[in-house]
Symmetry: none
Subunit: 237 residues, 2 copies
């Protein structure tokens, strides 16, 4: 998983928000270069909401060069593509590139500039490519914590897509559903629901469709038997 | 694009952060139900960083039911899957589902509960499915603004992907479904279906779940009104 490098971050709150976002998605390597208000930072700790306690210690560096010396591949984040000869990636592509490099043993990192200025041209030069998050043109500003959150999310989103296990109980057997529908048909016939015999099959097909689509559980079938009995004014068992 | 519905939000800051996240990705329909500190809210405006100025006015409602009455499909967000018979989606799947419904004219919405409690079971019952964002197990808390940000991002990140368009008829509006369910509740009360008052809310929730999941069309709602009338021995219109 990529490292996050914050270059000259100004507000402790933003460092904390970045840490929190990283911890949300299981990232742990946070590096900061020349934090304006020093390190550790109380505001960062408050904003991190405990994230800094479960992560390895943040590494603090004096220069970008030192901060990335052990990495193999760095992408810089910018609000807009700059006029530089660098590949520009959307988050999904950037993550794909980092993942494929990490799969062969490279260490990757994502670099964020100071809040006010973003990355300067010299700093972008140190990067292998640029990431631009596709925001609305009339409202494009993302803060540091939000940007880190989106990139970290982008990394894990594929990992977990398949693993969301619906916690649904098994639907009832088709026989139980048939029994319910047959009973309902009989009751409706008793009550002369199907006044027009020509339309009866269509009407009943509509009713069956509703309960088929609902994928009823056994419990729900019992409930519906109770509902039918109650509406008919019969005592339920 | 989906509507965002915030139910009983407590902190104005969170409403503002949600608005900001929406504006970042071009969303504009924000609805709030019973905001604790009223509306408009200065803290929300500060946190929105101008987002509220470029969006249509936020709509404020007294009840969830009113807030969603014109929508066709709602997903509720929960930190963990609940023990309810609802489909559970990761954000990518949830967005795919909303997009394919919107492509055939349905209006969709994503519902967020109060900060402290999340969505209550009765509130989840009103939803067609649940969204769970796959965070790290040891640090899973996302705030409102972050959750909205991730879902809005998920929508725009694959704008270029085509979605499958099912050829289904439009489901009935939620108001029509509510009318049906309210009528059914009343009829069942008349017939003393809820003999044990302690179990009544659970029983009714089960019944509501069945008809929510079935995604009823207008035609089907008319059919079910007819079914109820017939079972009660009343003449249908």
């Amino acid at each position: 998983m990529f490292s996050i490098i914050l270059l000259n971050p100004q507000m402790g709150e933003n460092i904390g928000a970045a840490a929190r976002a990283m911890a949300n998605f299981g990232f742990s390597d946070l590096r900061i270069v020349n934090p304006r208000d020093g390190w550790p930072n109380e505001r960062a700790e408050a904003m991190a909401a405990g994230a800094l306690d479960i992560m390895p210690p943040v590494q603090v560096f004096d220069s970008l060069q030192e901060a990335v010396s052990d990495l193999h591949y760095i992408l810089g984040t910018t609000a807009r593509p700059r006029d530089m000869v660098k590949p520009v990636y959307a988050p999904a592509q950037a993550v794909e590139e980092c993942k494929s490099r990490e799969s062969v043993g490279q260490k990757t990192g994502i670099l964020f500039g100071a809040e006010r200025t973003g990355l300067l041209n010299d700093e972008i030069t140190a990067c292998h490519g640029i990431i631009t998050i596709p925001t609305a043109p009339d409202f494009s500003s993302l803060n540091l914590g939000q940007s880190v959150l989106l990139l970290a999310y982008e990394w894990i989103r594929n990992l977990h897509n398949d693993s969301v296990i619906p916690n649904n109980p098994l639907p009832a057997s088709l026989e139980e559903r048939e029994n319910l529908l047959n009973r309902l048909t009989n009751e409706l016939e008793d009550m002369r629901f199907f006044r027009n015999p020509d339309l009866a099959p269509t009407m009943m097909r509509n009713v069956r469709n509703i309960f088929t689509r609902a994928d009823l559980t056994e419990q729900e079938i019992r409930t519906l038997h109770g509902v039918i009995s109650a509406l008919r004014g019969k005592k339920t068992q």
